[in-house]
């Protein structure tokens, strides 16, 4: 989908605001919003690509103005509601209750298996690489062009690289394809490549830094062989 979350190359966003000695979490609620990613993933409410797509479907104005962990709370709520795990009316009622009683305790529950999962997941990770017998269609050095159309639903094909030509600099094997898995489809692994684009190709010769490049990782369906250029060796 074409949305405001796809920020690469957007103008007018103002200065980068850094924070001296920034804490890992700025408020207690951020810890819970962060944890929802792991616990609700374990509960099968979303995969990582769906998680991202849930964020992408936020109100665009709110997306730009809200804190990142608020985005995470949004997507957790989105999928828990969709799966029928939470009742939206109940959520409103509880929210009103905690707004009136911010220090009211949370329900007590202990779950050693969940704790073990947390430690195991942090250390072991959740790899997205998948075995596949697909043969890679591209190799290092190939000139490729990124499809220029605008897909509906989740994609990682950012707008600023669509229609642009670059060179494959690395091949990585097959990974879960977000354009399928992020839209509720199967993992459908595809080959992933790193493609190098010159700044001039992305932004034009007048704006692009003559000594700058961007590397962007693409799944095979995003690219096709670039037409031969006149005078190219």
């Amino acid at each position: 989908m074409n949305g405001v979350f796809d920020l690469g190359g957007t103008d007018g966003m103002g200065p980068v605001r850094t924070e001296e000695n920034e804490p890992v979490f700025h408020a207690e609620w951020e810890k819970a919003a962060f944890a929802l990613f792991a616990t609700n993933f374990r509960a099968g409410l979303f995969n990582v690509d769906m998680f991202r797509h849930g964020i992408e479907q936020m109100d665009p104005a709110e997306y730009l103005l809200s804190n990142y962990y608020e985005h995470w709370a949004h997507t957790a709520e989105h999928y828990a509601g969709k799966a029928g795990v939470i009742d939206p009316e109940e959520l409103e009622k509880r929210t009103a209750f905690y707004l009136e009683n911010p220090d009211a305790p949370l329900p007590g529950r202990t779950d050693p298996e969940l704790l073990a999962f947390v430690d195991g997941a942090v250390k072991g990770g959740a790899p997205a690489a998948r075995e596949s017998d697909k043969v890679a269609a591209f190799a290092v050095g190939d000139r490729v062009v990124v499809a220029g159309d605008s897909p509906v639903g989740h994609t990682r094909r950012a707008r600023y690289i669509r229609g642009r030509t670059g060179v494959v600099t690395a091949t990585h094997g097959t990974f879960i394809y977000p354009d399928s898995a992020g839209n509720g489809g199967p993992e459908a692994p595809e080959h992933v490549y790193t493609v190098k684009f010159t700044a001039e190709e992305l932004w034009g010769p007048e704006v692009g830094d003559p000594n700058g490049v961007v590397y962007f990782d693409v799944w095979e369906p995003y690219i096709s062989p670039a037409p031969a250029t006149e005078g190219a060796a």
């Binding site: 920020l7 690469g8 103008d11 966003m13 200065p15 980068v16 605001r17 850094t18 890992v24 979490f25 609620w29 819970a32 962060f34 944890a35 929802l36 616990t39 609700n40 509960a43 409410l45 991202r52 665009p60 104005a61 730009l64 103005l65 990142y68 608020e70 957790a76 709520e77 828990a80 939470i86 959520l91 509880r94 209750f97 905690y98 707004l99 911010p102 949370l106 329900p107 529950r109 202990t110 779950d111 969940l114 704790l115 947390v118 997941a121 942090v122 250390k123 072991g124 990770g125 790899p127 997205a128 690489a129 990682r156 950012a158 990974f175 992933v192 000594n211 700058g212 961007v214 590397y215």
Partner: protein, 207 residues
């Protein structure tokens, strides 16, 4: 009501809504307070840029390790017991006299957690994500006070897939006598993102 009319929440409202969501998830058997606390503890105290700094210091002092790190960062980090969530497939890119690297995730907030911890807010906010791919030299100079000469190529790595990039900064001059701990103390989070310098020997703790 148009989507863009959604009222923004106050901190109190967000806190209440997330707490309500948390309560419901606990009742459904999906979450516990202890899991929230454990995850927070891990990223507040155990996993952070001090781990990436340790890897960098090792690469600065051990050429064979550095070669392995550049060939396969995930495996090289695993030698030091470092790795895991959001670092399943890491790639380290090396700064040299002629190349400067910086990382970003323009579409969301992808970041190599096992070596850098959780990202700072500015990394996830719109300005950095929008601008670092379009005007990196300007962003580095004006927003981070970090000037990269025009003669040095800037390579920006947009973490659009599940590969997690991070930067091996150059070892500063005058650090020949420092040991791994002193060297690691020079390595800043920003230097591994590619938006800041490493410290100098003058700022190193006494050996």
């Amino acid at each position: 009501m148009a989507p863009t009319d959604t009222p923004l929440r106050t901190q109190e409202e967000i806190a209440a809504r997330v707490k309500a969501l948390e309560a419901l998830m606990i009742e459904k058997g999906i979450m516990t307070v202890e899991a929230v606390d454990r995850l927070a503890e891990i990223y507040e105290n155990e996993v952070g840029p001090q781990l990436g700094a340790q890897v960098v210091a090792r690469a600065w002092t051990d050429p064979e390790f550095k070669a392995r790190l550049l060939a396969n960062a995930t495996e090289a980090c695993a030698e030091l017991g470092i790795g895991g969530l959001q670092g399943e497939d890491m790639i380290v890119v090396e700064n040299t006299d002629t190349v400067h690297n910086a990382i970003v995730c323009t579409l969301c907030s992808c970041y190599p957690w096992p070596v850098l911890g959780l990202p700072p807010n500015w990394y996830k906010a719109p300005a950095y994500r929008a601008r670092i791919v379009r005007e990196p030299r300007k962003v580095l100079a004006e927003d981070f006070g970090f000037t990269v000469p025009d003669s040095v190529e800037i390579r920006v790595w947009d973490s659009s897939a599940e590969l997690r990039y991070w930067v091996l900064p150059q070892r500063p001059a005058g650090t020949e006598d420092l040991g791994p701990f002193e060297l690691a103390a020079l390595v800043t989070r920003d230097s591994m993102i590619g938006v800041g310098p490493v410290g100098t020997s003058a700022t190193a703790p006494a050996a």
